[in-house]
């Protein structure tokens, strides 16, 4: 996920592009998107597992740092105060209540971003350096048995 025009915001898309060239598995779909909330929910319907890769900015975070998170990590923000949509946790809960076939397991890889507000198709150097590591981590995650 990300915005390919806003510097580090596009880091998730860079990882996805690299994964596309590395992975050739018929049971793995790689999607690039910039949507949130309910629209993200639409994209997850019908899959067994999902790995989401995106940029993140945390209080005091170090640019390029990679975090492995689950959707509950965002539970503290659960409310409809978003200017445009529900947050991810609420969207997932909404989907579950409606009985939508959602992934059994969702893992999030988030890369600490430095600049997400300057128009540029390039990531900043620290974030760029994190891309190969994130790609390897995601591949390991895909190969991991989800039941272990």
């Amino acid at each position: 996920m990300g915005n390919s025009l806003l510097s580090d915001d596009g880091v998730g898309l860079c990882v996805a592009a690299e994964l596309k060239s590395r992975l050739d598995q018929s049971d793995v779909t790689i999607m690039e998107t910039s949507v949130a909330g309910l629209s993200l929910l639409d994209l997850l319907v019908g899959y067994d597992r999902a790995i989401i890769i995106d940029a993140i900015q945390t209080v005091g975070g170090k640019a390029g740092q990679i975090y492995r998170l689950d959707p509950e990590a965002f539970d503290t923000t659960r409310r409809t105060i978003s200017p445009h949509d529900v947050n991810f946790t609420t969207a997932l809960e909404f989907g579950k209540k409606l009985g939508l076939p959602l992934p059994q397991e969702i893992v999030i890889f988030a890369i600490e971003a430095s600049d997400v507000s300057t128009f540029s198709e390039e990531c900043t150097p620290e974030v760029k350096q994190a891309i190969p590591t994130c790609v390897e981590t995601v591949i390991q995650e895909i190969r991991r048995n989800p039941n272990t």
């Binding site: 995106d54 965002f74 507000s117």
Partner: protein
């Protein structure tokens, strides 16, 4: 007073800020609404091929890429001096109507709904879509999801992919509709019309039949007498895709009507020290500050504004609802900001009806979907109504179509002055000396800007899925006495 600071670990792009300043007596002196500025888009565009702009500009915004795609496409028509064939224009409008159905549906059920269904001061944990479906039933939740998915399917069918369509081209579109696809669109449109009617009934039952809510909508705290802007067709009816921009004054009289190329004669932008965003106002009225009235150049550009700026709707059911809207709220124009939620539903019905009308148009399956441009490009302006307001794109190129200058006035920016005024007025009405500032009270202040659905730039795809909002209250010494972040 106790200082509260919540610093959630969250993506921080698209940070909206409300700053409220109190005087010595503890009353609200002034409030500001700030939108973050993204840096360098003009420079970023320079040197690029103009025909890439429908692809580039739709990536600016994760909320309404289709609106930027369509504005850019229309700008290219003007830039290359090419008139698309009639079927291409109809396909664009069909595509755009589907987009409107999805966007207005999301806004009403996710954003507006919780305040009214659960109540403005309901506990935070309940005031969301989960609370709404717990109260009104899973069936309606299912209908929301189905309507969105069906209309996204149409967008994908024509745009080639679910997000960031590859559809608009200078002089036409990249793909037409087969008869089989047309039938599918027609069925989705019929379902969407029924869904829009149901949504209006929900609004009727929950909001209009509740005297407390009706009083709140009509209250002075949420009222501003401003100019209103919106695109209209040749009969002055609301149009999202094409037409002229019409501006009416606070009495509802036509003040201006202009073609896209003339926008700079009518809209000027000013700089304020507290925000990087340039604030647009009506040039021929002039800037008098953040004030209401006929002498102030502040205008609004929202679903409510579009209804006020037009003489009616171009489809029968929406027209009937338009008439009911004004007869219920005391005639035109309606100045009550919270009525924007109802106006949005009138537009939802119009979008669904327009979709149905176009799906049955004999030309809609025509293969004549493109006029190849042959003229030398130079300068173009394109205007559409984005769901949040009037969206203007303006490009200047060299003779090879390379961008030399680009200017965009996006929907939320049009409304920055009005949003600031709305927040300030609600804060002044609600925050009183000695009165405890509760979460519910702050929510009532937020309800003043929620109808505008302000778009904080681009990256609202954020992992938590919400662009944070920060409310800071300062005392007369400039010290922070209350701060809430979400």
């Amino acid at each position: 007073m106790k200082k509260i600071t919540i610093d959630p670990i969250t993506r921080l792009e698209g940070h909206g800020k409300i700053e409220i300043f109190l005087n010595d007596a503890g009353e609200v002196e002034n409030s500001y609404f700030q939108v973050p500025e993204l840096r360098g888009f003009e420079k970023f565009s320079e040197g690029r091929l103009a025909e890439d702009m429908p692809q580039i500009t739709q990536r600016i915004c994760g909320v309404c890429p289709e609106a930027h795609h369509m504005a850019a496409t229309k700008t290219l028509d003007d830039l290359f001096h090419v008139d698309p064939p009639s079927p291409a224009k109809k396909l664009r409008e069909l595509f755009y109507s589907s987009f409107y159905v999805t966007d207005h549906t999301t806004h009403f059920y996710i954003l507006a709904g919780p305040d009214f269904v659960m109540g403005p001061e309901a506990p935070v944990a309940e005031r969301n879509i989960l609370g709404v479906i717990a109260k009104v039933g899973l069936e309606l939740g299912g209908a929301v999801i189905k309507t969105r998915m069906q209309n996204h399917h149409i967008i994908q069918m024509l745009g080639g992919r679910a997000v960031h369509p590859v559809f608009g081209l200078p002089g036409g579109v990249s793909k037409g509709l087969s008869e089989e696809e047309r039938k599918e669109v027609e069925q989705i449109a019929k379902d969407s019309v029924e869904f829009a009617k149901l949504s209006l009934k929900v609004f009727d039952d929950i909001v209009l039949k509740n005297k407390e809510y009706l009083d709140m909508i009509l209250s002075d705290a949420y009222t501003h007498r401003t100019y209103y802007m919106g695109l209209v067709d040749e009969k002055n009816r609301v149009n999202f895709y094409d037409g002229k921009v019409r501006v009416v004054d606070p009495d509802g009289k036509e003040f201006a009507k202009y073609a896209p190329r003339e926008y700079l004669d009518h809209v000027a932008e000013r700089v304020e020290p507290w925000t990087y965003v340039k604030i647009p106002y009506l040039k021929k009225v002039g800037w008098k500050g953040f004030v209401d009235g006929k002498d102030s150049g502040v205008f609004r550009s929202t679903p409510l504004s579009r209804l006020n700026a037009a003489d009616g709707m171009a489809t029968p059911l929406a027209q009937a609802e338009y008439e009911r809207f004004y007869s219920t709220l005391g005639g035109k124009p309606v100045h009550q900001t919270l009525a924007t939620h109802w106006a949005r539903l009138v537009e939802l019905l119009y979008a669904a009806e327009k979709l149905l009308e176009l799906s049955k148009d004999p030309e809609i399956t025509s293969p004549n979907i493109r006029t190849i441009p042959t003229a030398t490009p130079d300068e173009g302006v394109g205007i559409v109504e984005a769901p949040r307001g009037t969206l203007t794109h303006h490009y200047i190129t060299d003779e090879k179509g390379i961008i030399k200058k680009a200017n965009l006035i996006v929907a939320t920016v049009n409304n920055v002055a009005a949003i600031s005024m709305s927040v300030n007025k609600a804060a002044q009405a609600l925050i009183k000396p000695g009165k405890k500032i509760t979460e519910g009270l702050l929510n009532r202040i937020e309800m003043a800007w929620r109808p505008y659905d302000p778009c904080f730039g681009c990256a609202t795809h954020t992992l938590p899925g919400q662009a944070p909002m920060e409310v800071t209250i300062y005392n007369s010494k400039g010290e922070v006495i209350e701060k809430l972040s979400r």
